[in-house]
């Protein structure tokens, strides 16, 4: 799968000029409110026609303003989860869910209604009309409707914004499975770095209608200046590794990246699987001595590679640990007290439970 996107459009005083290429997997569209995320989604879905542009999906030219090509929206089969729900008010929840299936060729129809209904927790609502649903329930039905239409590409505009964390945590793995098993590419708009880090393979950060940054999720989320898109609280490093062992008693996975080891708790992960771990800078402590008698299991040796101070009194320390970069955010006071300087060997301490494999 390969989506090539290039479009220019003017909306009132707002100029959109975005180009990117997205390979299979999840591409996150990231950016502040009003930066043009929804506009991009609309153009991909065929709901808006840019003044200039070209969209190629897997070799199919869907849009080419120069050659006057415009494949209409219903022929693209790009199911969209809209920011505002858009359920059909005259159909029941079940009919809404099944809507896309009516238009799917029989052989393409996925038979996963029961599974999705269950996953989204909307089993009790099937006979109801959208007018009688709560906000979050509407959003879940909208997600279900898109998932069930067997799309070639999923466009999701903040699909989980109105949901509680528990529900989110249930739905996210499913989207991951979709990405990995069903091989349906996803363009995902979200304000939540955690969501993006977990799902996205590529991140495209928009700012005022332009692409501010684009690249592999690991690269973009590791960039110290992600604050363009994300708040500083979520800055950190993304590390890719492979599960070496899983200790079922303590429910601890050991993940090896290069020659280092990371311990990650919680979810059961198959051995040998490759995973991505997002280590938030604010979760990393530094020590100039190897610490003892500490509850933290992850103590990784490295050397200070970069120190950047900010006006808010904190210092971002970039540590080279065996080929992988780790970012630590500590106070400038600690930085002085520990006498950190470039090249100094340090120990990065990361609480095990603070890590979540993505």
């Amino acid at each position: 799968m390969r989506l090539q996107f290039e479009a220019k459009q003017r909306l009132g005083t707002f100029d959109l000029d975005v180009a990117f290429v997205s390979e299979s997997g999840v591409t996150a569209l990231f950016g502040r409110s009003g930066s043009g995320k929804t506009s991009v989604i609309r153009i991909i879905a065929g709901l808006a026609r840019p003044t200039e542009g070209r969209i190629v999906f897997d070799g199919d030219v869907l849009l080419d303003t120069q050659r006057g090509i415009f494949v209409p929206k219903h022929k693209r089969r790009f199911a969209t989860v809209f920011q505002e729900g858009r359920l059909f008010p005259h159909l029941s929840v079940l009919q809404n869910l099944n809507y896309g299936r009516w238009f799917t060729p029989k052989q393409d129809r996925a038979d996963n209604l029961a599974k999705i209904v269950d996953l989204l927790g909307i089993g009790g609502l099937l006979d109801r009309r959208p007018g009688k649903l709560s906000g979050g329930e509407k959003q879940r039905v909208a997600v279900g409707r898109a998932l069930l239409s067997s799309p070639r590409l999923l466009l999701m505009d903040e699909p989980l914004a109105a949901l509680d964390d528990t529900r989110k945590a249930e739905i996210l793995p499913y989207l991951e499975a979709l990405r990995d098993e069903m091989n349906i590419p996803i363009i995902y708009v979200s304000h939540s770095v955690a969501e993006v880090a977990r799902l996205a393979d590529r991140v495209i950060a928009l700012s005022e209608g332009k692409v501010a940054m684009a690249g592999a999720a690991t690269d973009i989320l590791n960039a110290t200046s992600v604050s363009v898109a994300a708040s500083k609280r979520e800055a950190g490093a993304v590390v890719e590794g492979r599960v070496i062992t899983y200790d079922a008693v303590h429910r601890l996975a050991t993940i090896g990246f290069n020659s280092s080891r990371l311990y990650v708790s919680g979810t059961e992960i198959a051995e040998g699987r490759s995973v991505r771990v997002h280590i938030l800078a604010k979760d990393v402590m530094l020590s100039t001595m190897r610490p003892e008698h500490l509850s933290a299991l992850n103590i990784i040796e490295g050397t200070v590679e970069a120190i950047s101070l900010d006006a808010a009194g904190s210092a971002d320390i970039r540590i080279e640990c065996d080929g992988a970069p780790i970012l630590a955010r500590i106070t400038q006071l600690s930085c002085e007290r520990l006498g950190l300087k470039l090249g100094l060997p340090v120990y990065a301490i990361i609480k095990t439970v603070a890590l979540e494999p993505y």
Binding site: A45, G46, L47, P72, K73, H74, R76, R77, F78, A79, T80, F82, E84, G85, R86, L87, F88, P89, H90, Y99, G100, W102, F103, T104, R129, P130, G131, K132, K138, R145, A146, S149, L155
Partner: protein, 233 residues
């Protein structure tokens, strides 16, 4: 009370009126929906001409409309002759012609109702349907049509009611032949034209009112059913 016991002729008129009004309503439904949507959504040259044309039967005195129909659809009229020759459809002085006249007279009412409803449809829902793979025709059938149903029902009842009351254009176009083109309205009119006809006219008027009220209530009930289903998201 045998005051309400209808004579044979009256039965015939009731029958005929129902048939004419229903056929007029049903036959103008599809064109009504089509034109309503065209006027609500379309952007084309001549839109205001079409709009004016649709309103014409409202603007013109019914007698004039009747004459125009007579000239166009009469046995010797250009369209009438064509229909008779190639399709074997004769409208003049047939109940079908009465239905045509009633349909034409009610058409602006039908179109306006449908047009208003179409204009109120949230087009974002249609977009959503399209992204789920529905072609324009399917979007229309599964989303637009159900959402404009209240307007369609309103248009149908207006058209039906108008057909019940119409006689000016009808009597001018297809005359007032008992059993063929004499509707209740025309019969009522005839009775008002002769001395002593008032009682009979009143009786027929009551019958017409009762029928129309029944139709009205049926339509309200239908609209209620539809409305209960289509609630705001």
């Amino acid at each position: 009370m045998d005051w309400f016991a209808l004579s044979n002729e009256e039965w015939t008129a009731v029958h005929l009126t129902l048939r004419i009004a229903s056929v007029a309503m049903l036959a103008s439904l599809i064109p009504g929906i089509f034109v309503g949507i065209l006027l609500a959504r379309g952007k084309f040259w001549g839109k205001s001409i079409l709009n004016g044309l649709v309103h014409l039967p409202l603007i013109l005195p019914p007698v004039v409309t009747g004459f125009i129909l007579l000239i166009l659809f009469g046995r010797r009229g250009p369209i009438g002759a064509f229909l008779a020759e190639y399709l074997g459809i004769v409208l003049s002085f047939r109940w079908t012609g009465a239905a045509l006249a009633c349909g034409v007279m009610g058409f602006p009412l039908m179109v306006r109702s449908i047009r208003l409803s179409v204009e109120a449809v949230d087009r974002r829902l249609e977009d959503a349907a399209a992204t789920l793979g529905a072609s324009p025709a399917w979007v229309f059938l599964t989303v637009t049509l159900p959402l404009i149903l209240p307007g369609i029902i309103a248009g149908m009842i207006l058209s039906f009611a108008k057909a019940m009351g119409e006689f000016g254009a009808t009597i001018t176009f297809v005359s007032n032949i008992p059993g063929e083109t004499q509707t209740l309205s025309a019969a009522i009119y005839t009775f008002t034209q002769v001395p002593g006809g008032d009682a009979a006219a009143f009786r027929l008027t009551m019958i017409s009112v009762v029928i129309s009220m029944a139709a009205l209530m049926a339509s309200e009930f239908m609209a209620y059913l539809v409305g209960r289903r289509v609630e705001f998201e």
